[in-house]
C-alpha cells in the first residue's frame, strides 16, 4: 500500500505548506510535506490545535496557506474546488433541516445544474449506497445522529468526487454507532474508489480505517511521523482483535508521544475559532 502514491499522479500534493493565523499569530502548520495517492485512505491524527482541521481546509481551498504549494488532482486547490473535485463531511452532519433527505443529498447536484430527472436517479443510488432507501422524504430532525451522518456522506459522494475530505465525521457519535459506521465507510470507500483524507482524534479509528496514518504535533503544527497500516483488506469486526492491530496502535501512540501529543492542551477550541474568524463565517 505504501508504494502506491508514487506509482500514479498524487491526488493531494503538499509542499512546505505553512499557515499562520494573523501576522505574528498562531502557526497552525509549518512546512508540511505530504503526498496522497489515488485510492488511499489517509488519516490525520493529533491533539487539538495540531492543525489537522486547518490542513484539511487548506486542501479544500477553504483557507489560504501563508506559504508552500498545494495541488489537488494535479491542479491548484482553488481550481479543484471550482471543478468540484472533492466532497466534504464535517463532525456535525450540517444538513439543511428545511430540506428532505433526498433534497439534501441532491443539493450539490442542484448547484451543479443537473436536471431534476438525473438528480432523482443519482439520489436513489446514493440512498442505496448508504442504506437509507425509504427515508428520502424524511426531514433531518426525524433521523438519528448516525443516519444524519450517512446522509451527509451520501451528499458528499453524490457528484462522484475523486477526493473525500472528512473532519472528525464520527466524533459526535456513540462508540457502537461509530464502529458500525467505520465499517460502512470502508464499504463505501471500496465501492466508490475515491481517495479519503480523514481527520480524527481516535487512534483505533485511524488505524482501523486507514492505509496510512499521518501523526501530527501541535505548535507549530507539523507531521511527526507516518505509520503505514498493512492490515489486510477488507477489514472486518475481527480486524480489531488481530495482534497486528494492537502493534500498529502502539506505533501510532509512540509517534504521538514523540511529538508531545499527550501533553495537556490549554485551549481545545482555539483552532476552530481561528478558522471561523479567517473564513468570516461567524
Amino acid at each position: 500500500m505504501s508504494g502506491m502514491e508514487t506509482s500514479r499522479q498524487a491526488v493531494v500534493k503538499l509542499e512546505r505548506v505553512t499557515k499562520q493565523f494573523g501576522k505574528a499569530g498562531v502557526v497552525a502548520l509549518e512546512d508540511v510535506d505530504l503526498d496522497i495517492g489515488p485510492g488511499e485512505f489517509v488519516s490525520l491524527i493529533g491533539p487539538s490545535g495540531c492543525g489537522k482541521s486547518t490542513l484539511l481546509r487548506v486542501v479544500g481551498d477553504l483557507i489560504q496557506p501563508t506559504g508552500g504549494a498545494v495541488e489537488v488532482n494535479g491542479k491548484s486547490a482553488h481550481q479543484a474546488r471550482v471543478d468540484r473535485d472533492y466532497g466534504i463531511v464535517f463532525q456535525d452532519a450540517v444538513l439543511f433541516e428545511w430540506r428532505t433527505v433526498a433534497r439534501n443529498i441532491g443539493l450539490p447536484l442542484e448547484l451543479a445544474g443537473w436536471s431534476r430527472e438525473r438528480r432523482r436517479e443519482r439520489v436513489q443510488e446514493m440512498l442505496e449506497l448508504v442504506e437509507l432507501s425509504g427515508f428520502e422524504g424524511h426531514h433531518p430532525w426525524q433521523l438519528s445522529g448516525g443516519m444524519q451522518q450517512r446522509v451527509s456522506i451520501a451528499r458528499a459522494l453524490s457528484f462522484e468526487p475523486a477526493l473525500l475530505l472528512m473532519d472528525e465525521p464520527f466524533g459526535a457519535l456513540d462508540e457502537m454507532t461509530r464502529e458500525r459506521l467505520n465499517l460502512e465507510l470502508l464499504r463505501i470507500w471500496a465501492a466508490s474508489g475515491s481517495t479519503v483524507v480523514f481527520v480524527t482524534h481516535s487512534i483505533s479509528e485511524a488505524v482501523f480505517l486507514s492505509t496510512r496514518v499521518v501523526v501530527m504535533s501541535p505548535r507549530p503544527g507539523r507531521i511527526t511521523g507516518i505509520v503505514d497500516v498493512d492490515l489486510p483488506q477488507p477489514r472486518t469486526f475481527r480486524t480489531r482483535e488481530e495482534p497486528r492491530f494492537a502493534e500498529l496502535i502502539r506505533d501510532v501512540r509512540r509517534t504521538l508521544r514523540q511529538g508531545g501529543g499527550f501533553e495537556a492542551e490549554e485551549d481545545d477550541h482555539l483552532e476552530e475559532r481561528l478558522i471561523a474568524a479567517e473564513e468570516g463565517t461567524t
Binding site: G60, I88, T281
Partner: protein
C-alpha cells in the same frame, strides 16, 4: 391482516386532532368567560362600593356592561340605518385594505434592507443606527408629513388611503428588517463552508441557505408587524382625513362617548378583531411555509 391495521390507525390520529382543536376552543372560551366575569365583577364591586380612583368612577359611562357593548353591535347605527356591526365591518374592511397594502410594502422593504445589510457590515454599521432612529420618532408626528408628501403623488385609485398604507408600512418594515438581518446571519458556519466547497456563488448561498435559515426569524417579525400595521393604519387615517375606516369610526364615536359609550367600546372590539385576524393569517402562512425542526418554530 395489514389492510385492517390501516383504518384502525387513521381515525385515531384524526380523533386526536379533533380533540386538540376542541380543547383549544374550550380554552379560548374559558378565557373569554373569565374576562367577562372579571369585567362585570369589577363593575359591580365599583358601583356598590362607590369606588373612586382619582377622578375615575365606575359607572355605565366609564365601564358599560359587556352585553350592552355586544348588544349595540346589533342595533341600528342611526335612525333607519343599517346595524352598527355592518357599519363597523365595512370600516374594518377598508382599514384592512390599507393595513394589508402597508404590511406587504413594509415586509418587502424590510426584507430588502436586511438582505443588503447582511452582505456588508460596513453598510450595516452605517445605516442601522438610522433605521433604529426612524422608529424613535412617534408615528403621530410622522403621519401628517407622510400625508402631505405622499398624497399629491398618488394615482386616483390610491388617493388618501395610499398614504395611510405608507404609514402602516413604516411600522411594519422595522421589525422585519431587524429580525431578517439576524436570521440571514444565523446560518450555520459549517453550512457556509459546505456551500463554498461546492464553489457556490452568492445567489445560491442567499436563496438556498441564508433565506431558508432566516424564515423562523422573519415570521416572528411578521407576527409583530401584523398587529402593528393595523394600529398604523388606524392612526394614519386621522391626519389623512380618511372617514371610511376604523380610525374615522373611532373619532366619530369618541365625540358621542358621553351619550353612547358602548359604541366606542364596540368599535375597539372590532379593531382588536382585525388585528387578531392579521396575526392568525401570518400564523397559518408560517405553518405552511416553514419546514424546520419543531424547536425552531416559534
Amino acid at each position: 391482516m395489514a389492510a385492517t391495521a390501516v383504518p384502525e390507525h387513521a381515525p385515531g390520529v384524526l380523533g386526536e386532532r379533533v380533540r386538540a382543536v376542541l380543547l383549544q376552543l374550550a380554552q379560548l372560551l374559558g378565557v373569554l368567560v373569565g374576562l367577562w366575569a372579571f369585567w362585570e365583577a369589577f363593575k359591580w364591586f365599583g358601583e356598590t362600593t362607590e369606588l373612586r380612583l382619582g377622578n375615575f368612577e365606575v359607572n355605565d359611562r366609564t365601564l358599560p356592561h359587556v352585553h350592552d357593548i355586544v348588544g349595540t353591535l346589533f342595533e341600528p347605527s342611526r335612525r333607519n340605518g343599517p346595524i352598527l356591526l355592518d357599519v363597523l365591518l365595512d370600516a374594518a374592511l377598508f382599514t384592512a385594505k390599507e393595513a394589508a397594502l402597508g404590511f406587504a410594502l413594509g415586509a418587502v422593504f424590510g426584507f430588502g434592507i436586511a438582505v443588503v445589510l447582511a452582505h456588508s457590515s460596513l453598510l450595516e454599521r452605517g445605516f442601522l443606527p438610522y433605521i433604529v432612529a426612524s422608529q424613535t420618532v412617534p408615528i403621530l408626528a410622522i403621519a401628517p408629513m407622510v400625508v402631505v408628501w405622499v398624497n399629491p403623488k398618488m394615482p386616483d385609485a390610491l388617493k388618501d388611503w395610499g398614504a395611510v398604507a405608507v404609514i402602516a408600512a413604516y411600522l411594519t418594515f422595522f421589525p422585519v428588517a431587524i429580525n431578517t438581518l439576524r436570521g440571514l446571519r444565523s446560518a450555520d458556519p459549517r453550512a457556509l463552508e459546505l456551500m463554498r466547497s461546492y464553489a457556490s456563488g452568492a445567489w445560491p448561498i442567499l436563496w438556498k441557505l441564508r433565506v431558508p435559515a432566516s424564515l423562523p426569524y422573519l415570521f416572528a417579525a411578521l407576527k409583530v408587524s401584523a398587529t402593528a400595521c393595523v394600529v398604523g393604519a388606524i392612526i394614519g387615517e386621522l391626519p389623512a382625513s380618511v372617514q371610511d375606516g376604523l380610525g374615522g369610526a373611532i373619532l366619530n364615536f369618541n365625540q358621542y362617548y358621553a351619550s353612547a359609550p358602548e359604541r366606542l367600546w364596540a368599535t375597539n372590539l372590532i379593531a382588536a378583531g382585525l388585528g387578531i385576524t392579521f396575526f392568525l393569517v401570518v400564523v397559518v402562512a408560517e405553518r405552511a411555509v416553514v419546514r424546520r425542526a419543531p424547536e425552531h418554530v416559534a
